[in-house]
Symmetry: C2
Subunit: 307 residues, 2 copies
């Protein structure tokens, strides 16, 4: 696995791959990798010849009072995991090269970033789109994989790609869950044992809303309330939002007549977690607790209690 | 000359050129081509194997009360001119593909766009950077050429390229002038004969400021006043701004100790024209009325009084 730290070196590596007719698959991450990330790598591999993973805890997407400083980091464990799944190149941008003195350019997607997480994190998505644009221009991927857990992020990136003519196919990846349904997230590492137990309430709430939908309920407010009522009763949990929104525009809907998502953000203790579930009138598949793909040597890399 | 109207076709053409190891040179324009544009094409050719010119009158960079509707257009004349200088591909984006319903992404360079033209045209540069990002992602150039007449635009594009990791070399092109010094611009076509005569005052003003600089004057305010006083006395002319700013940050300077520009925007009649002149303490070359490169068959294409 090649480890690349400079933008220029990354671009020359990408040019070389492209020159040899190899398709580049890309998985951008903030590190502290778990099996959710692994599934993104597997999808990238299935659609490309060379896989690049980036690890960059992007200061631009954290608000002033958020967890940038304490965001979990484990570069040695991450390298081991990525070696174990035969990633071709690990891109580790240096913060001083990505945001040098005089940096002053932002990429902003306007409407789809206003609601949901955009309410409590008003500069978050601008930070995400700016860094993803920079990463795409450094890595030059043919295809990039983003997890469905961060649903608003996925919609935002897709909109940016379409609006700016990025020649990159965006592939959504199913949410990978723990056995009790909790969506995998690096931030789960913040949870105490009691909080970890309480956090299962998020998936339970989504499952109940989905069951009501599968039983024929189409009124968004009632679907929302099914989830919110369950979550309100969960211990240690405080709702940030529960909303039913159009799956493409992210605008609130009254009645679910085309694909929508029920989206949740909740604090469990002081940890903010998000999750969501598709409500598709065309087919009401159950939101399974998807088991991760066979993980081979991946588990041997766990170095700091991170799974 | 290949004429390309869709983004996808443009990208595949670019991929093909790159696949054959050909370097792509790019000249983005709004059409109504003059010899200034031709000089950009010649510079692109000298640095690349294939030259792409785009013509797109970009609605996003015009303010509500500006001249988008009446901006001069002459596609047939432009095609003829580009054929005559053997451009390889003409990219003609369709407005409905570039800005489809739901379009909502902006690229914004913050500080260097605030002053100078940014004061009277507050959304102009955001429109420029957004469309240039889109054009770069469609054309995939190795090198792109921008004229020094639009100095703030050049600085802004350079900043965007550096900040977002665009793998494109930005080459500045000297200002091409009419025999009396007026900088070539498609907007010169708006001028009545009297206004055209008065418009020479802009270059005269810059020449006087430069002469004072060459004679040793380094106080920005005095250099500015030399230009402004001359321009104030010119007939039919109203100053929008005259400023001496740092050539890289575009911040106002007190004393010219490193490269600066004296930048002018003025209305001649109702036509707003811009021009500028470098003040470089390291070498005080005269601002020549640069004659255009040999124009071969180019002149035969003049179809609507456009030279």
């Amino acid at each position: 696995m090649q480890v690349i730290e400079s933008v220029l070196e990354m671009q020359r590596w990408a040019d070389q791959q492209r020159g040899h007719g190899r398709r580049i698959g890309f998985v951008p991450t903030m590190g502290y990798l778990h099996r959710g990330h692994l599934s993104l790598v597997e999808i990238a591999r299935s659609r490309a010849d060379s896989v690049v993973v980036s690890i960059f805890v992007n200061p631009l997407q954290f608000g002033a009072n958020e967890d940038f400083q304490r965001y979990p980091r484990d570069l040695e464990g991450d390298r081991c995991k990525l070696e174990s799944v035969a990633v071709d190149a690990l891109f580790l941008p240096r913060s001083d090269e990505f945001y040098p003195p005089g940096f002053q350019t932002q990429v902003e997607v306007e409407r789809v970033t206003r609601g949901l997480c955009g309410v409590s994190r008003p500069t978050h998505f601008r930070g995400v789109t700016t860094v993803v644009a920079k990463l795409f221009l450094a890595v030059k991927p043919h295809v990039a994989v983003f997890g469905l857990k961060d649903f608003q992020q996925l919609v935002t990136i897709r909109r940016m790609v379409r609006d700016l003519n990025f020649d990159v196919e965006i592939v959504p990846a199913p949410i990978v869950r723990e056995p009790d349904g909790l969506a995998m997230s690096s931030r789960n590492a913040y949870l105490s044992p009691e909080e970890r137990h309480a956090a299962r309430g998020i998936f339970e709430a989504l499952t109940r809303a989905h069951a009501a939908f599968a039983a024929g309920e189409r009124a968004a407010q009632r679907l929302r309330d099914v989830a919110a009522d369950h979550l309100s009763a969960a211990p240690l949990t405080r709702i940030d939002y529960v909303e039913v929104v159009d799956a493409e525009t992210l605008e609130p809907v009254q009645t679910v007549e085309r694909p929508a998502v029920v989206a949740v953000a909740a604090f469990v203790g002081s940890t903010r977690l998000i999750d969501n579930c598709l409500l598709d009138p065309a087919g009401v598949a159950q939101p399974a607790t998807q088991q991760p793909i066979a993980v081979s040597h991946f588990e041997q890399c766990v170095t700091e209690g991170n799974g």
